[in-house]
């Protein structure tokens, strides 16, 4: 166990190093000159003198290895550098965006997980096939709607027609409702299906049937035995899902004017803004690695026997 976590932690640093190196190489190889992009932001064609000035100032005249080494050096000293486009410190750009991203990610994550597990459990336990069929058909359709279409529909319904909720911005819980819905409805289907499947499997297990034959309390069986044993595959899925919610919210953020990091990253890619891309990856990488580790820890806590079967390899 300890060995496993050691290995996971050790792999983190080379992973981050590789990701940032990859980002540097790709961004530099890509078409698009940060200086021209920077200078055309303000709508005036850039003069040759300005182009030369900024190329020097952004350090783009140096060779790639030099630039990467310089960047790495300053990162090790805790300085993420300044954005090419806005000239602001990368740490400040990301710092003001991380809280909204986490808020939205967490809320959507918790909403989809709790509702999904409850619904899945109800379907598995009650074995009411009409309900089961209708729910699953509905969910499979809802989760097949592209998130931005869902977002447009939600805005039109709750904002324009019912006028119940603000359609854009950040600040109160009301602002959180629509983006959360748009983000959480997609993964719901998979959570429900996984919960339902895992629980039905376990209901077939001998020990549950024995427990039921003995006339044990229904609630106790469900919560104490079934749900708990179904938790393992769920935790794995849900852990992977969390990373996706953190990083995949860019479209939803831009539609709902949610000031998260996804839009920053998209702008940075579009602007070839290397310091921001690098800083973002350095920030989000450990976060996702951390969540994955936590997922494994949780699996271990739930059932130490099964959790690492996949790492011990075949006998």
């Amino acid at each position: 166990m300890g060995h496993y976590f050691q290995r996971r932690l050790l792999i983190t640093f080379p992973t981050l190093f590789l990701i940032t190196l990859g980002a540097f190489l790709l961004t530099t190889a890509a078409r698009g000159d940060p200086v021209l992009i920077l200078l055309e932001q303000s709508d005036q064609p850039p003069t040759p003198e300005l182009v030369a000035f900024y190329r020097e100032q952004l350090g783009l005249n140096d060779r790639l290895p030099v630039r990467y080494w310089r960047w790495l050096g300053s990162v090790v000293q805790g300085d993420l550098g300044r954005s090419f486009l806005s000239q602001r410190p990368v740490a400040a750009i990301l710092g003001e965006r991380i809280v909204p991203t986490l808020v939205l990610g967490f809320t959507a994550f918790i909403a989809s997980t709790i509702v999904g597990i409850l619904l899945g459990a109800v379907l598995a336990v009650t074995r009411f096939w009409q309900l089961d069929l209708v729910t699953r058909m509905t969910l499979s359709v809802v989760s097949a709607i592209p998130s931005f279409c869902l977002a447009i529909g939600l805005i039109s319904l709750f904002g324009t027609h019912l006028r119940l909720l603000p359609v854009a911005g950040y600040g109160s819980w009301q602002h959180l409702v629509l983006p959360t819905l748009a983000l959480a409805l997609g993964p719901l289907f998979v959570t429900v299906r996984l919960t339902r499947g895992a629980m039905i499997d376990i209901l077939h297990e001998d020990y549950i049937r024995t427990a039921r034959a003995k006339g044990l309390d229904q609630r106790r069986i469900i919560f104490h035995h079934v749900l708990r044993n179904a938790a393992l595959p769920l935790t794995t899925f849900v852990g992977m899902r969390f990373g996706a919610l953190l990083t995949g919210a860019a479209i939803i953020e831009s539609i709902f004017a949610w000031p998260g990091m996804g839009t920053v990253f998209i702008t940075a890619i579009a602007g070839r803004d290397l310091p921001v891309i690098g800083g973002y990856l350095l920030l989000i990488g450990p976060l996702i690695i951390g969540v994955n580790l936590l997922t494994d820890l949780l699996c271990w806590a739930i059932d130490p026997r099964v959790a690492f079967s996949h790492t011990q390899g075949a006998r």
Binding site: R7, R8, I11, T15, I19, A23, L26, T27, A29, A30, L123, V125, T126, R127, F128, W129, L131, R136, M137, S140, V141, S143, A144, I145, P146, S147, F148, C149, I152, G186, R193, G197, I200, D201, H204, R209, Q218, M240, G243, A244, L246, T247, G248, A250, I251, F265, I266, I269, A270, L281, I284, G285, I288, I289, N292, H310, T311, G313, A314, R315
Partner: protein, 299 residues
């Protein structure tokens, strides 16, 4: 309402049988098509339709008629016309072929990589497994959408880069599941027996492991396709989809957003197609899972 609640309660007290699924009575085994195969077959039929339908429509999807722009649905233009006066029906059909081709290619490559790595790791075990598993772990760690975005934004959008970007991180999750499945099959009695009898490895892999891995493989593939269709449309939304004038559904939705006030029907056709195919892929995957469960319980 009362009946409904009673029905919910009653479920718990129904007898549990090995092939039980939600208390529904099992169909007679004389039925040729076993339940679970219904949606996969429908899905395949629709896939075929998606590839054939462009041939049935003679209108040129890229034919511009500025004076016919933003026409509502009519007998002449079933789904209306877009901002350049192009026939939406023709575009949605042709776009469907593009979308489905990209989707299927991406899924096929993803699943082949997943199958190769999963089977290899699961069958051989040991050091090989350890390393491949670390690789899977590493890729699972990567922020999927970000990598896709970064690759596309940076390499530029074209057919191959789109597929490369989609495949780059998607193979890891199915690879992990296929590995576990292979592992389970490998440690079952008859494989041990076959190995003891000295069957060559390729024979074991081909005759014993492959048939057993086929259903989970198809299941994962169809779920993957549902996902990929949504990712492609999301990429188009961000301006990283197919290049004009050619359309895929995502691009069509993205284009139609500008005219949502004047011509809301523009969004309906491609939107419905995406939902239809993605939902069918989901349901097909679900159905295959059912088939798989039943066959596992039989053995």
């Amino acid at each position: 309402m009362k009946w409904f609640l009673q029905r919910l309660q009653a479920g718990w007290h129904l007898p549990v049988t090995p092939l039980d699924d939600g208390g529904r009575r099992q169909p007679r085994s004389t039925l040729v098509i076993r339940r679970g195969w219904f949606f996969p077959l429908i899905f395949v039929a629709f896939l075929g339709l998606g590839f054939v339908s462009p041939m049935l429509i003679s209108t040129d999807p890229n034919h511009i008629q500025i004076n016919q722009r933003l026409q509502p649905p009519s007998a002449e233009y079933w789904f209306g016309t877009d901002h350049l006066g192009r026939d939406v029906l023709a575009r949605v059909s042709h776009g469907g072929r593009t979308t489905l081709t990209f989707g299927l290619c991406a899924v096929a490559i993803t699943m082949l990589i997943a199958l190769g790595i999963g089977m290899f790791a699961g069958y051989y075990g040991g050091q090989v497994d350890l390393w491949l598993n670390s690789l899977i772990d590493l890729v699972l760690t990567l922020p999927t959408l970000l990598i896709t975005l970064a690759l596309l934004g940076i390499l530029g959008v074209s057919g191959p880069t789109l597929i490369l970007a989609l495949v780059s991180t998607a193979w890891a999750a199915p690879a992990r599941i296929l590995r576990a499945t292979t592992l389970a099959i490998r440690s079952s009695g008859y494989i041990e027996a076959a190995r003891a009898l000295g069957s060559p490895q390729h024979r074991i892999l081909w005759r014993h492991i492959a048939p057993n891995i086929a259903t989970p493989f198809l299941m994962l593939a169809s779920l993957e396709l549902a996902e990929v269709l949504l990712v492609i449309s999301a990429l188009s939304f961000l301006g990283l989809g197919t290049q004009p004038p050619h359309a895929d559904w995502g691009v069509m939705i993205a284009e139609s957003r500008a005219y949502i006030g004047q011509a809301p029907w523009l969004m309906w056709a491609p939107g419905l197609y995406i939902v239809l195919y993605s939902a069918l892929a989901n349901l097909a995957g679900d159905g295959l899972k059912q088939v798989l469960d039943q066959s596992l319980k039989r053995t």
